[in-house]
Each structure stands twice: as structure tokens, then as C-alpha cells.
Amino acid sequence: MSVIHRFLLITTIIWAPVILYAQQKSPPVDIGKESMYFPHHFQKYHLQTGLGFDFIKLPFDWVENALEAPLLDLHLTFGLPAGFSLEGNLNTILVSNQVSLGARWNYIHRNFSFNLGYDLGYSLGIMNFAGFKNTGMTLIHYPNASIGFKTKTLAFTFKGEAVIIAWGQMKTGEDLMSRSINFFDGMTGAIYLEQRIFRKKILIIGFKDNYVKYYWPAWMVFSTFDRYYHIPELHLLWVL
């Protein structure tokens, strides 16, 4: 599939809900309750789903030629009693995939709020090159905290998290090529802006800066480097 075809496919997927919901009337929305990243007391036992894309820019040290394609991002929240919530994420670019699941405790004070959380991520990458099936697997801890601020129509969230590789390995065929255990991989900082786009639907725009040594979507180009890199991500998420 050509580059342009791929781009059109992605934009069509993004546009599908637009076409679906066009020309319908909109009920009122409390952005503080409908948002996904903004820390708040999520509706108990209610599952909220967001779907979108993460655009990434990898460091030149890692990629010989441009390798830039968006990751599909499925984001889930589930409300629990006493200010707790669960959060899940599935990111995929076919050759790299990560599932993460975690819990949050949320606290609100007027228009401000914050949460503390922990996620555990499992990433799996499979790619054939040089005639071999190569696989990369990692188990990653993501302890995190977020601070939120909302206006009548906008919710801002600043999120920071640590990235700790609990376990990781790369294989070529059945042969183990490398294994890593318990190393501090770096930090991420992110800013999310959530607001209504249509009816009760929320669009999330986020920017995340990963300051890490190992970046799971690029497992296939991970080398022996022991350097930190800034890897920016632009998030676009539609709350379904």
C-alpha cells in the first residue's frame, strides 16, 4: 500500500465517526466528568472507550531511513468506588504492540484535581527480517501522577510517569539475543487537552515527551546504545 493510500485509510477511519454523527443535536456536557485523562471520579462501573492515533518521531540515531507511522491507540477507563478507577491501553503498529492495565486514585478540589496511579505494560513485537522471525517482549512498570485543571469547556491534564523495564528479551528465531532485567528506562511528561467536539463526544489532543533509552514501539531498531533520547508523540483520541 502506498504512503498516500495508508494516510487516506487512517484519515477515513478518523472521519468515520464524524460522518456518523454529523447533523445531530447536542446535549449539554460536563467536561470534568466526560474526559478520560483529566483526574476525576469516573462513573462507577462504567466503561469509557477512546480510539485514536499517536504520531511519533524517532531519533535519527535509531532509524537509517524515515520510519514514521502512527500507532493505533485504544484507551479504556472503568470507574470504581471511592475515587478509584482502572485504566487500560492498547497501542499497535502491527509489528509493535503494547497492552497496559493500571489503577488510579483520583482526588478533586474545585477546578483542580490530581491522581496517582500505576500501570503494568506488556509489549510484544514480531517482525521478519534477514530471513528470521524476530521477536521483542518487555514488561514495563509505569508509576504515574497527573494534575488536572478544568474550565467550563476544557480539561487540561499534566501527566508524568516513570518507565521501569521489569523484564525484556529479544529473540531471533528460537535464539535468545538479549535479556534485560530491572532497569530504569526514563521518564515521560505529557499534556492533554480534552474538549467536546460534537454532541457528547470528546476529542483529546495530547503531547508526550518520552525521555528514555528504550522505546518499545521501536524495539526492532533498539541497539546497544546507553543514551537517553527525547521521543515526541502527538496524541489524537476520540472518546467514543
Binding site: K57, F60, E64, T172, D175, D226
Partner: protein, 420 residues
């Protein structure tokens, strides 16, 4: 008005943000400056240099350089090879009966670097070195290294333990440096696939190089890795796009490699190898987007002839990385007499009569196949091995005759420290 100002500020901020995402960090080589006492020294004769080669215990500086290091002279630098990826590249001179040493250290996996300075006193080996005594009683290198800027703030001491084993020195084992000596992404001070890198790489301990060969639109083989001219490998200029689209003259005038060098012609690079280095092996990695073997063969022949005339021990192998390259190679007259290196199967090696079999390292040490290759009087090299543990494993437990790596000093350490 205020809103407009804020928005313009925002746009400016975003432009700044984007500006920060691209360029690789440069790591400059620390230097003691022009007032160093080293400028007063005289070069050490060849025979004296050999006395310094050997295995040394590290009695100060272990936190960086480990417990043992290998010291090995190349054409003009003394390289200190450590077990974990640290290395020192040193200039050595003599002043009266004292040996003065000065240079820098670097850790290959990140950008850590610093200055290093040392000396060997007359009665601690200086006299033996200057007199070229092949059996020095003791050599103690005393000095210091810096961990930041040009300041020396940590003690350094190496004590001579033993010479490099004669059986190791006599064994042909190639330390092949990737991309003419090192990668741009390793933040070295010269560009990959340049003549400057060929000049630089012996200081890293390499005895051979791999270079990437591509063909210009007017049929000139040049050194370049990527398929296109890009800002990863070249300075930003008015030209971009597939390298095969451009003539050599256009590349010469319009393109500079990331540290300012020209993209070299293969012929110029190989002339430099034969005339100005002591490198013994050149592995031509043919990027066969446009078949170029036909253009490369006469250059290989010309340089090998020159090496023969100069009495230089030099091998130049045309790399065959794919079936297409093999087909291109086998369509050449007398291909079986042309020195080549095959990356595919052992059967392909026989078919092409390649002198070297070079499988990817991820296929393992493949002892039985390597033995089979040796049985046919051929060599076996593996590529591209950069991890310390795997280099150690392949050298200690494998039977390969050479390793292609971005870090020849690591392979050098594990090769030279062997006792037989």
C-alpha cells in the same frame, strides 16, 4: 491585540519545539590545549612502540577501565582497550628518558568522555621503551583522567603484566570496523564512510574496514550507506533524494557529510587505505539498488596491484549480500578469480568461490559450518556484533577469523587478552 500576540507566541513556541527534534548530539574530543608539555616531545620509534604493547593491570582508574586493559599500538596512536566498552586513544612521545602520554577516553555506548594524561618514568619502564628492550622489567603508567571538561581529577595507573601472546599475534584475526571505521550515530568526530574515518579508525584498534558502496548516475562507485541523501548523514544543503540519481561531480560540489567531508569515490578511499594506513582487510558492502560490481572490479584490481607493488598485505573483498548480487557477480568474466565475500549460504560461497563466508551473527557461532569453510581454505567472519557479552562469546567460544563491529576495541580486548 493581546490574543494575537499570544497566538504568535504559541506558533513561535511550536516552531522551537520542532527545531529541537532532529540533530544528533555531537561529542567533541577533549583536548588539553596548546600549552601542554606534550608539544615538547619527540615521536617514539617503531621498535619502542612494540615494547609498550601488552596486558596491563589497572591499579588506579578501575571504576572506569576495569581491572585489566590491553595496550596496542596502531599506525600512529596507542589504543587502550577495556573489557566493557571504554577505550582510550592516546598520543605518545618521549622527552629525555620520560615517555609522555596524552589523549582522551570514551565510553562507546553513550557520550561519556574525558581527557587523559600520563607518563612513564625512566626507572619505571621509560628507559626500556626508549631502548626498545623487548623484555621490559616493568612498565608503570601513572597519570590521571578527567570526567568533565578538560580537568584531570581522577588518578590513573596501569602496571605491565605480560606481553600479548605470540600465538595470538601470529593468528590472523580481523578486527573489522563498520562503515569505514565507525558510525555517525555513535557521535564520533568524523563521518562514517569518509576518508577521514578511515584515517581515524586505526586509533580505535581496527585492522580492517567495511565500507558501503553505491553507484552514482554516471557510474562512479562512492562510499555511502543510506539509499538517499539525508540530514542523518549529510550536512543540510539544497540537495536531497536518492543518491543514485546524482552524478559524482554533483555530489562533490553539492553535498558534504555530517562533519564536512566530501562523499569519497571508492577509488580515492582505497588509495588512501593502501598508501596511508596499515589496514589489511577491506569488505566492500555492495548496496545493490543499482548493480555496481562491474564498475568496482577494475578498481579492486588496480588497488590490489598497487598493494602488491608496495609489498602491502591487503585484501579487498567484494561483498555479496543477496542473490541479486551473486547473479550480478557471476555474470562477470572470471568471477571465480575475483576476491569476494559471500553473506549467504556455504553452498553459495562455493558457487562464487568466495574467499570469505560472512554470516549474520544472530545465526550463532555455527562451529560445524565454520570448520567446513576452514576445511576449504576459506575464512569466516561474522557481522555486525556490538554487544560486549556476545563479542566475548564469539571470540572465546567461536571459530571465526574476524568480527565486523562498530566497536573494534571491544573485540580487540577479548582477542588480544587470550593466552593462545
Amino acid at each position: 491585540m493581546g490574543i494575537m500576540r499570544n497566538c504568535l507566541l504559541t506558533l513561535f513556541c511550536i516552531a522551537l519545539l520542532m527545531a529541537g527534534c532532529n540533530k544528533s548530539k555531537e561529542v567533541s574530543i577533549p583536548s588539553p590545549g596548546p600549552n601542554s608539555l606534550f608539544t615538547e616531545t619527540y615521536p617514539l620509534p617503531e621498535a619502542s612502540r612494540k615494547v609498550m604493547d601488552g596486558i596491563y593491570n589497572v591499579t588506579a582508574g578501575n571504576e572506569l577501565f576495569g581491572d585489566q586493559v590491553v595496550l596496542k599500538w596502531s599506525r600512529k596512536k596507542l589504543t587502550v582497550m577495556c573489557s566493557d566498552g571504554h577505550y582510550l586513544v592516546l598520543d605518545v612521545g618521549q622527552l629525555d628518558s620520560v615517555i609522555m602520554i596524552q589523549g582522551y577516553w570514551r565510553y562507546c555506548y553513550n557520550d561519556n568522555t574525558g581527557i587523559a594524561s600520563a607518563y612513564i618514568a625512566r626507572d619505571e619502564g621509560g628507559k626500556d621503551i626508549i631502548e626498545a628492550n623487548p623484555h621490559p622489567g616493568q612498565i608503570i603508567i601513572r597519570g590521571g583522567y578527567g570526567s568533565k571538561g578538560n580537568e584531570i581529577n581522577n588518578p590513573l595507573q596501569f602496571v605491565y603484566l605480560r606481553p600479548i601472546s605470540p600465538s595470538v599475534l601470529n593468528k590472523k584475526f580481523s578486527l573489522l570496523a563498520h562503515r569505514s571505521g565507525g558510525r555517525t550515530s555513535d557521535h564520533l568526530p568524523v563521518s562514517e564512510n569518509s576518508i577521514a574515518m578511515i584515517n581515524f579508525t586505526e586509533g580505535l584498534g581496527s585492522t580492517g574496514i567495511e565500507i558501503d558502496v553505491q553507484l552514482t548516475s554516471d557510474g562512479v562507485p562512492v562510499l555511502y550507506h543510506d539509499a538517499d541523501l539525508n540530514i542523518r548523514l549529510t550536512q543540510k544543503g539544497p540537495v536531497s533524494g536518492p543518491i543514485n540519481d546524482f552524478t559524482y561531480l554533483q555530489l562533490f560540489y553539492l553535498v558534504r557529510l555530517i562533519h564536512g567531508e566530501h562523499i569519497p569515490r571508492l577509488k580515492d578511499a582505497l588509495y588512501f587505505v593502501v598508501d596511508s594506513t596499515l589496514l589489511t582487510d577491506v569488505y566492500l558492502d555492495m548496496k545493490e539498488k543499482v548493480p555496481s560490481i562491474k564498475e568496482v572490479i577494475p578498481i579492486q584490481k588496480e588497488i590490489l596491484q598497487r598493494a602488491k607493488e608496495k609489498g602491502r598485505d591487503l585484501n579487498i573483498y567484494i561483498g555479496l549480500p543477496s542473490q541479486d548480487a551473486i547473479n550480478d557477480f557471476m555474470s562477470q568474466p572470471d568471477y571465480q578469480k575475483i576476491p569476494s565475500l559471500c553473506e549467504l549460504s556455504v553452498d553459495d560461497v562455493v558457487r562464487t568461490n568466495s574467499m570469505v563466508w560472512a554470516p549474520r551473527w544472530t545465526e550463532g557461532t555455527q562451529d560445524a559450518l565454520v570448520a567446513q569453510i576452514h576445511g576449504q581454505g576459506r575464512l569466516a567472519w561474522t557481522w555486525t556484533l556490538d554487544d560486549v557479552d556476545w563479542i566475548k562469546e564469539f571470540i572465546n567460544n567461536g571459530q571465526f577469523d574476524g568480527i565486523l563491529t562498530n566497536y573494534p576495541f571491544i573485540a580487540g580486548y577479548y582477542h588480544y587478552i587470550r593466552e593462545n
